[in-house]
Symmetry: C2
DNA sequence: ACCTGAACACCGTTCAAGT
DNA sequence: ACCTGAACACCGTTCAAGT
């Protein structure tokens, strides 16, 4: 085992040779966490790893592939076993997995945008898809409805979180939910009730669109809709 | 009226002074249409308008504001009156507006990603929101359910189109839908039935996730879910 | 008010060369 | 196989200056 230095270890700088893909992806996620979405760059990752920019191309073909690897890595951080369980619990399984995915994405808001660019590739996306399908089959859907429903759930989860994060600066930790809701309520203050009457009288609800409560509510409605015609 | 030159007019180059915001936004959309999402740049727009890069900052504060203007401009191209109509037709109104929005976004795929970055600002977004709310109130929902439902429909429309476009190169015209479905079916060919049994037997459905038919199906399920508990 | 000129601090990517 | 050195063709943005 390595001698554990008691000195405050320097932060992953220094010329450490022999990288691997996992280190590159981890450095990229750390970079986005520190500097927000626009901090992601091949050159920046190389700098953090103490390596010349083009060394990164040993591990990814281009920036787009790095982004796909980030998506797959974050997806792997959500416990797939949350989708397991008795058939009768299909709904609870889908809900708890969705909430866990949302939590992981909110913890890495700068990377969440990437999920709207190429989410369906990657080994982990395939595994998540199979898990969603299994839950929907357990709900009593036929194969066609389960597959269509799977995509609808995907669209809901990813779209919802992306829009929620779009209103932030993408740098964790995000302000607590009550603060973000309060900021939205303030922004809605100037709505003209003459031209937008319904919007004007529902600003309190709209302020909470980015809440976990709305996320759960929307998911339940989606699941209602998918299973209504069973 | 201006003398109409019969010569094949040169393409918007040349030193035309006195720009305005509309020209800048139009040039930006044209640029994304021609070169895909990564072709969008302040410098590129300036080049197309025959102006120095920093001249653009007379009309937008930064790149992010240009992107918001693009979103608002595209939103304005979808006829809001599609949301008007008899209360009993609330469902048809929502469906035809959604389909029209999808059509506009698919015609400008490189710009569609921007809708996931800051869609709820802008004057046109507000007007669309009021229209969605009116349709949902006509559906018999109370104010709270209508507002929550409005956001769910927004998430669905924008998330759906964004994921669909994520699989393309973002340059119009996109390949026709049957070709895109066939390409997806081919990509699904290698699925391992042992590890992903349900996925493997539903690849034909999954190939069609990006179809207009799935889009309409998903919207109907969302509307079912929203109105189920009325 | 609106534009130019010039600069600063960045990008992604490629190629040849070293080990 | 994996990295460096050096270059190419780009970025967004700022500042001072001109009209």
């Amino acid at each position: 085992m390595p001698a554990s230095s008691s000195s405050p270890r320097p932060r992953a700088r220094g010329p450490r040779r022999r990288l691997d893909l996992a280190q590159v992806v981890a450095a990229a996620i750390a970079r986005v966490d520190a500097g927000g979405p626009e901090a992601l760059s091949i050159r920046g990752v190389a700098l953090d790893l103490g390596v010349m920019p083009n060394a990164i191309y040993t591990y990814v073909a281009d920036r787009a592939e790095l982004e796909r690897e980030i998506v797959d890595a974050l997806l792997s951080r959500v416990d797939l076993r949350l989708l397991d369980g008795p058939a009768a619990d299909w709904r609870a399984r889908l809900v708890r997995y969705s909430l866990a995915l949302r939590t992981v994405l909110l913890a890495h808001p700068g990377a969440a945008v990437l999920f709207m660019s190429a989410p369906m590739t990657g080994a982990h996306a395939l595994a998540v898809g199979e898990g969603l399908l299994a839950a929907l089959v357990d709900a009593g859907l036929d194969d066609t409805a389960a597959s269509r429903g799977e995509y609808l759930v995907f669209v809901y989860m990813l779209g919802s979180v992306a829009l929620e994060i779009a209103e932030t600066d993408g740098r964790p930790p995000l302000p607590p939910e009550p603060a973000r809701i309060a900021a939205r309520r303030a922004a809605f203050a100037g709505i003209d009730a003459a031209t937008h009457p319904i919007t004007a009288r529902t600003t309190d609800v709209a302020a909470g669109w980015i809440s976990g409560e709305q996320f759960a509510w929307g998911l339940e409605r989606v699941l209602d809709g998918i299973t209504a015609a069973r």
